[in-house]
């Protein structure tokens, strides 16, 4: 290695050092510590008891426990429902706001607002809306003669309530990404289709949608990863309840670690969910590569 190269490396190292240090303290060290904990029996309520090595016992408990499987089911159910609505409504709105109509720019900006609010605040806003006796929603549906619905206090409605809040917050994200993609499409094929007389539905299904596919896949995975770790809104609205009706994986981990103080089990559950997310991401990149090759 020549002198210049060596010197460049030294300079690069100096500049990288702060980032590496921060990353190590906030991400790498906690992760390694969590990995260490996942093999130990560590009760935060009795910190003086030695942290005994328990092998894979924590993992075994997580993977065979009903509550974990239940949280997994809740997570994926919520994900399926919210993503479906977010994409159907989001793509629909994107088609609408990319029309050249007066006032569309303003409407587009307004529609983006939910996405810019912190999820905790979104949770609090919807808490006001869902509040059983004094909530806005029950007041308004009362006006049209519908009996009050126990939105966040019944096991029957709580997950729906959370789904609605999440859909409200994240549909704009899908809309924004799709609208940007729509605007980058060349207008000429649409004029060709107009002259050929293809119906609007055919044009959407056979011209627009296939061209949006790469962007939609990207948005879908970004949303899926986010939905997998959903936490804030649920924590504010129901804390995973009533019972375990809205307990997603993130809430299960939280409950194990900070309600039951079972740090080892919580850490093991974290790693299981990390593996699931990693598989999702790998699948995502595989499919992206495939669609890139196909084009």
């Amino acid at each position: 290695m020549g002198y210049v190269n060596r010197r460049n490396r030294t300079i690069a190292g100096v500049f990288l050092l702060p980032t590496v240090a921060v990353l190590f303290l906030t991400t790498i060290y906690p992760m390694l510590y969590a990995l260490y904990l996942s093999f130990r029996n560590y009760d935060l309520a009795k910190p003086f008891i030695p942290r005994i090595f328990v092998g894979l016992a924590n993992f075994q408990e997580v993977l065979t426990s009903g509550p974990f499987m239940h949280s997994m089911w809740i997570t994926f159910k919520l994900m399926a429902v919210t993503l479906t609505f977010q994409f159907v409504i989001g793509v629909g709105l994107a088609l609408l706001v990319t029309q050249r109509l007066p006032g569309m720019a303003a409407i587009r900006t307004l529609l983006l607002i939910p996405m810019m609010i912190s999820p905790v605040i979104v949770g609090l806003v919807w808490l006001f809306i869902y509040f059983p006796e004094l909530g806005y929603l029950n007041y308004f549906i009362g006006l049209i003669g519908i009996n009050p619905i126990p939105w966040i206090t019944s096991t029957q409605w709580a997950l729906t309530a959370i789904a609605i809040a999440d859909i409200w917050q994240w549909t704009p994200f899908v809309m924004m990404g799709t609208a940007a993609a729509l605007q980058s499409l060349s207008p000429e094929p649409y004029e060709a289709a107009l002259i050929d007389g293809n119906s609007r539905i055919d044009v959407f299904l056979y011209v627009t949608l296939p061209q949006l596919k790469p962007v939609l896949i990207s948005l879908l995975f970004l949303r899926a990863i986010d939905a997998f770790k959903i936490y804030d809104i649920i924590f504010v609205l129901t804390k995973g309840g009533p019972g375990d009706a809205t307990e997603t994986i993130a809430l299960y981990i939280y409950r194990q670690s900070f309600t039951f103080w079972r740090m080892g089990v919580g850490a093991a559950a974290s790693f299981v969910s990390l593996i699931i997310i990693s598989v999702l991401i790998t699948l995502f990149f595989k499919s992206m590569q495939k669609s890139a090759v196909a084009r």
Binding site: E191, L194, I195, D202, Y206, Q211
Partner: protein, 359 residues
């Protein structure tokens, strides 16, 4: 097949008029080229015929029916776009199938149509490819195939060759000419390239600033330009122009400038009055070197000589006036030489300097 007629067609964007009352009759099977510099309204006119732009005033008829308010699909037209406008994610075959979809034909009919057109355009081997896997010339042929497969009554071409390189352009131009001969469908073709216009058109419509300057066959617009714009726009290199004044000569009127004086063309002499300001136009190909002792020769200094193989373009100067002569390469003089040239009498064009109209 169908005739097309435009009657006083106007296009305005708000208060801004871009097409000012265009009148044009296209007979069945005719190949009409709308020619003009960019911004002259030719593409807007074509898009109005296609139905991609609303008509602000006047009437457009196809096959005798007013189609102003008909959607594009009901106009029996097909269009080939400058950027091909192919569906990027579909194969060549799927592009054609999609164009046929609204006609709700049977699978066998669709296959037969595609096979026919693909054969005609030499696309058989490319049917399973996607546009990204094709060259520019192939894409252009696919765009034409997609238009042809619908067997429209009128073809609209919007600068179809401008994205191709020079060699391909010549090749595809010939293919278009051949196809028109074969199909006999009415064509409206927009271009800014006069060579395309001259080679393809039965009738050229020269436009400028939203007005039609002249309509005529390629021969007509070349040999008898109606005004200075057409005279200089058609022909390459473009026509030489000289500002002259009409004066009384011994044998009828003469045209004179500070640099030289020549006899006015005999057939125009009746229209000239002494003192009138006129512009004399002469194509470079109508300027030749004078024979020894030839009367009426003009002495000029050679500035630059461009050798083109068969011919040479000679930049000449008389006083402050520069002009070009297109002569056989073998006769070309050397730069800085002084030569004598004569103007071919039949090639003299006279225009009123004020109105720019031909006399």
């Amino acid at each position: 097949m169908a005739s097309v007629s435009l009657t006083n067609v106007v296009k305005a964007f708000g208060a801004f008029k871009v097409v000012h009352g265009v009148d044009l009759d296209i007979t069945d099977g005719e190949f009409v080229v709308l020619l003009g510099p960019s911004g002259c309204g030719k593409t807007t006119t074509l898009r109005m015929v296609a139905g991609l732009e609303d008509v602000s005033g006047g009437e457009i008829c196809i096959a005798g029916e007013v189609i102003n308010d008909r959607p594009p699909k009901d106009r029996k037209i097909a269009m080939v776009f400058q950027n091909y406008a192919l569906y990027p994610h579909m194969t060549v075959r799927q592009n054609m199938e999609f164009a046929l979809k609204p006609q709700k034909l049977s699978k066998a009919e669709v296959d037969a149509k595609i096979a026919g057109v693909a054969g005609m355009l030499g696309l058989d081997a490319l049917l399973q490819r996607k546009p990204a896997q094709l060259s520019g010339g192939q894409r252009q042929r696919v765009a034409m195939a997609r238009a042809m497969v619908r067997t429209p009554e009128v073809f609209l071409f919007d600068e179809p060759l401008s994205n191709l390189d020079a060699k391909l352009r010549t090749q595809v131009r010939m293919e278009i000419a051949k196809l028109h001969k074969q199909l006999g469908t009415t064509v409206i073709y927009v271009t800014h390239d006069q060579v395309e216009a001259m080679t393809l058109a039965d009738k050229i419509v020269i436009m400028k600033d939203g007005y039609i300057e002249q309509i005529g066959s390629p021969e007509e617009v070349f040999a008898h330009p109606k005004n200075l714009f057409v005279a200089t726009f058609i022909g390459s290199p473009s026509m030489n122009l000289f500002r002259m004044t009409v004066e009384r000569g011994d044998k009828g009127p003469v045209l004179s400038s500070a640099a030289f004086t020549i006899a006015a063309p005999v057939d125009k002499s009746g229209k000239l009055t002494p003192g009138q300001a006129v512009t004399l136009g002469i194509r470079p190909s109508d300027v030749r070197l004078a024979r020894a002792g030839e009367p009426g020769a003009i002495e000029a200094r050679v500035e630059v000589v461009e050798y083109l193989g068969v011919e040479a373009l000679v930049d000449l100067r008389v006083g402050t006036q520069e002009f070009i002569a297109q002569i056989p390469a073998g006769e070309r003089p050397a730069p800085d030489e002084t030569v004598k040239v004569v103007f071919n009498q039949a090639g003299l064009h006279l225009f009123d300097s004020e109105s720019g109209q031909a006399l």
